[in-house]
């Protein structure tokens, strides 16, 4: 039941916030904050209690699961389940949701109610994506997070918001329709094999498929996840969407929506299609490395702060893709840590970019410079996040990238070396950003207010999060260990059975 609450709370709070905002905008913000805090508490509670729950030996190693009949004619159930992998992502979701609400505290003044409605519904949809254990339900949530995200960009975005929002919607739509076709074909294949309709994740896992069919279906799933991730060359929606979105939108996009792509690969592509995943593994890793280098180089060339951060996302998510298809557990662990820490560090950079835009009314790096003198707290935290993004040891991203590199080295030394070059490129754009924006002479004579209370809260908690993952990632790794172990085991075992 707790799983249902996790989805329902933001869902209902979204509607309430819309109603409340007609009278009082601040009430809507507080309400959203309270709902997300409640969500976070529930998720953390599950984390704390999970060893006890685990001893109950639920099927498939779930910590908790829930099944209601829904469309019995097709064996579609309202089936939610959580394991370590999903739990980590849900904690991240609720945390970044809070960050997004705080980040838009002063930025959003028009249509506050509808804004928070959309924001909370994105959170609800993303939570559903992480919890769904029925493929039909998964698709439903997958699409559901798209529409409110579209509105966030299209209504509260910057200059080219319409273009960016439509591009984002269309890229996602065509790829997820391909996934829908793959999901349905998989269920049909399962029906032909067993005579029973089912969309349940557990049931579909062992579906016997011919190699060619499996390959096509895997590509259907992969298309949807690769667009979200984004994998080179399907990333072109990302810089536009991230740049034009309001701060909260960018935080949610970079922090959560990209993660749903990686999550989908871990949850669905690897276990459901172990054969094709192995066969195409090298190709996927090469795509990942291309993304790392390409994203880093383009990030270096940007003069728009948000656009630069967007391209670093392409680069960092390349590491995740590389880790997922490296075919060993160390790299899978690394990919997961990278997902979490990238969510925090990039989310923080977008909040920073939003805070600067709010004060300077520009995102151009050239118009900045010397900001440290006038805004020490803001600039100091900015430097921490830039360093995290660069991969400074002691901060989250380093752990993830390092583990991915070590894991990859076992499979393909060449790709590991090329990917490591990406980390060096990362240093150049990170330092360039610090140099141009924060240090140097204050040629434009900026005199600006330093971080406000909610910005201090956001930055403080995000720095703590990054330090925690950077210095002591063990709790996270321990939580996801069984899930990751099962994923890699499934991939290997099912292969052996053929």
């Amino acid at each position: 039941m707790i799983l249902f609450w996790l989805i329902l709370i933001p869902f209902v709070a979204g509607i309430l916030a819309w109603i409340v905002a007609r009278r009082n905008a601040t009430a809507a913000r507080v309400l959203s904050l309270a709902a997300l805090a409640l969500d976070l508490t529930l998720a953390l509670g599950l984390w704390v209690r999970h060893p006890i729950v685990l001893s109950q030996q639920l099927r498939f190693g779930w910590f908790a699961s829930l099944t209601w009949d829904w469309i019995p004619q097709f064996g579609i159930r309202f089936h939610l389940a959580v394991d370590g992998l999903a739990l980590v992502m849900i904690v991240l979701t609720a945390f970044l949701g809070i960050v997004a609400v705080l980040a838009s505290w002063s930025e959003i003044q028009n249509g506050v109610g509808f804004f928070h409605f959309n924001l909370l519904w994105v959170i609800s949809g993303v939570t559903g994506v992480f919890l769904a254990a029925d493929l039909f339900l998964f698709y439903l949530f997958w699409e559901l997070m798209l529409v409110p995200m579209y509105f966030l960009i299209a209504i509260w975005g910057y200059e080219r918001k319409t273009y960016a929002a439509i591009k984002f919607f269309l890229f996602t739509q065509i790829s997820s329709l391909l996934m829908l076709v793959a999901i349905i074909s998989l269920a049909v294949a399962h029906y032909h094999a067993t005579g029973v309709y089912s969309f349940a994740y557990e049931d579909l896992l062992g579906t016997p498929l011919s190699p060619a069919t499996a390959m096509l279906m895997m590509l259907g799933f992969f298309a949807a996840f690769a667009v979200k991730l984004p994998a080179f060359p399907l990333h072109t929606w990302l810089p536009d969407a991230h740049t034009e979105a309001p701060t909260a939108g960018s935080v949610l996009l970079a922090g959560l929506l990209l993660k749903t792509g990686a999550f989908g690969m871990l949850r669905f592509v690897l276990p459901l299609f172990p054969g094709p995943s192995r066969e195409l593994g090298m190709l996927m890793m090469a795509v990942g490395v291309t993304g790392i280098l390409y994203g880093a180089i383009l990030a270096f060339a940007q003069s728009d702060l948000k656009r630069m951060v967007a391209y670093t996302s392409v680069s960092h998510m390349g590491f995740v893709l590389l880790g997922i298809f490296s075919g060993n557990e160390l790299a899978l662990d690394g990919a997961l840590v990278q997902m979490v820490s990238h969510g925090i560090s990039t989310g923080a950079l977008f909040v920073l970019a939003g805070a600067l835009k709010d004060r300077l009314h520009t995102r151009e790096l050239d118009s900045m410079g010397g900001l440290w003198d006038t805004m020490p707290v803001l600039s100091g935290s900015g430097m921490v996040f830039a360093m995290a993004s660069v991969g400074l040891p002691g901060l989250g991203d380093f752990v993830g990238e390092f583990m991915v590199l070590v894991g990859t080295y076992r499979t393909s030394p060449v790709l590991a070396i090329l990917a490591a070059l990406g980390m060096i490129a990362g240093v150049t754009y990170g330092l360039r950003m610090i140099q141009r924006a924060l240090l140097g002479p204050n040629t434009h004579n900026w005199k600006l207010p330093d971080a406000r209370w909610y910005e201090r809260v956001v930055f403080g908690s995000m720095i703590v999060g990054l330090l925690w993952i950077g210095l002591y990632p063990q709790p996270v790794l321990k939580l996801v260990r069984p899930a990751i172990g099962r994923i890699s085991q499934q991939a290997i075992q099912t292969l052996a059975m053929r």
Partner: protein, 479 residues
């Protein structure tokens, strides 16, 4: 003909009598509200009589009509949709000064035509049904005689519909000449077991001509050319009627007597349907990209939707039939909702339906505009709406058949579709600084109630399809 036959025919007798009653009422005194409520009561009585008719089914009434659970189910759907159209028409015509009372008699007669279609089992009743429908629509399309567009639409519809009827008749004649039977079951049989030699060619020619007639009514490509002009020129309630009731009735015949073609992939008739389906999906969606008028966009979108529907029609077995029925219902609910909301949104504010008319509408009238957005998202096939589950069933049925190429085309074309639905959404949600303030007058209460019911139905069909799906299963198993 005995009393049971009369009971079985009540659903079509009642609205016919109501139409006559309305004409008499008009002769005595013109009263818009009275006539509209009379039409509504007639449709309500007709809907109620379905249960009476259900006690005597299945029953063949003469050689012309068959009343069974299939025809009653479709009749119920058509009558309910027509009733909603009547409700929407009332507020639409309330603002206008034309002679508005005859409108309701015509709508009732057109509905009777579609009910005859759902029950027809003979060439004669098929033609009769289509003609009752068409003749009423000639008048309905150009009902607002003042407008130039309305006249153009009326003439266009008249000429093309008459031509297509001629094709239909010729096709039926050819089939009769070859088989010596006027039973519609003949068509089903021919499609299942095509004859050999010269007979096969005549039969095929007959089938193709019949398809021309039917395809015109459905506005499937390449018989779609009338659609955008008629949708644009006709009064909004009539457009909603054409998109839902008129197409629904014709599709009911097609589904019942032509569905056997889906069991014979590769036959010429099968190819004809495949080409119609694929061409409708692609051209409908591609041509919609060029439009700036909402009515024309919805016209092209309806062409594309007929393509999806034909794809479901091509799916073999009971599942194909069920998927097609579900999609038709989902589409009808959505499109009537969309047109109804367009009436509520634009009427009184503006007379034209260009995209710009919607600028900033969401911030002025959030509830109506939000509901319109829901209808558009349902047309685009976004989950939680009826349109999504409809498409889901189609893809599932097509994957079982299997029809991979059409599925792929559906994926591509419905992505194109999403683009133009977004084009309608974008101006609606635009923040306009100097937009005109909201007009004080809201939509009248009966329009609000029917629209709220439609929007609720869009969600119910998209979230909880089991009851309806079970009903459709029962019907398809019985027929």
């Amino acid at each position: 003909m005995n009393s049971s036959d009369v009971i079985a025919l009540l659903p079509m007798i009642v609205p016919s009598l109501t139409a006559i009653l309305i004409l008499l009422l008009i002769a005595i005194k013109r009263n818009h509200a009275l006539v509209a409520s009379c039409a509504l009561a007639g449709l309500g009585a007709s809907f109620a009589s379905l249960w009476a008719a259900a006690t005597v089914i299945p029953r063949s009434v003469t050689a012309l009509l068959i009343i069974d659970s299939y025809s009653l189910f479709y009749s119920g759907f058509l009558i309910a949709t027509a009733a909603i159209v009547v409700l929407l028409s009332f507020s639409y015509f309330q603002r206008r000064q034309e002679h508005r009372e005859e409108f309701y008699a015509l709508i009732l007669l057109a509905t009777v035509g579609t009910i005859v279609l759902t029950a027809s089992r003979h060439f004669a009743s098929l033609f009769l049904g289509i003609e009752i429908l068409s003749v009423s629509l000639y008048a309905l399309v150009s009902y607002l005689r003042e407008g130039r567009l309305a006249l153009e639409a009326g003439i266009k519809y008249l000429v093309l519909a008459a031509t297509s009827s001629a094709f239909l008749l010729f096709g039926l004649a050819l089939l009769y000449a070859e088989t010596g039977s006027m039973d519609l079951a003949t068509i089903s049989y021919i499609l299942m077991k095509p004859a050999a030699g010269a007979a096969a060619e005549i039969e095929l020619a007959g089938i193709v001509f019949v398809l021309t007639g039917v395809g015109f009514k459905l506005a499937a490509v390449p018989f779609h050319l009338w659609t955008p002009d008629v949708y644009e020129g006709a009064p909004l309630p009539v457009t909603a009627f054409i998109a839902s009731v008129s197409k629904g009735g014709v599709f009911a015949v097609l589904l019942r007597w032509f569905h056997s073609v889906s069991g014979h992939p590769g036959s010429p008739a099968w190819w004809a349907f495949v080409v119609m389906s694929i061409a409708s999906m692609l051209f409908g969606n591609l041509l919609a990209l060029q439009q700036n008028n909402i009515k024309r966009i919805l016209a092209y979108s309806s062409i594309a939707n007929m393509g999806y529907l034909l794809l479901a029609f091509l799916c073999a077995g009971a599942f194909g039939l069920q998927a097609a029925t579900y999609y038709l219902l989902a589409y009808a609910v959505t499109i009537v909702g969309a047109f109804g909301l367009l009436i509520a949104l634009c009427e009184g504010e503006t007379e034209d339906y260009e995209l710009d008319a919607l600028r900033g509408m969401f911030w002025r009238r959030p509830i109506l505009a939000g509901a319109f957005a829901v209808a558009l998202l349902s047309l685009a096939g976004i989950p939680l709406t009826a349109g999504f589950l409809g498409k889901f069933y189609i893809v599932a049925a097509a994957a079982i058949t299997p029809l991979w190429i059409p599925i792929l085309i559906l994926v591509i074309s419905s992505t194109i579709g999403v683009y133009y639905y977004l084009r309608v959404l974008v101006p609606m949600f635009m923040v306009v600084e100097d937009g005109p303030p909201a007009r004080g007058e809201g939509a009248p209460i009966h329009a609000i109630v029917s629209l709220a019911a439609l929007i609720a139905l869009i969600f119910v069909l998209g979230v909880y399809p089991s009851p309806l799906w079970r009903l459709i299963q029962t019907i398809s198993n019985a027929s």
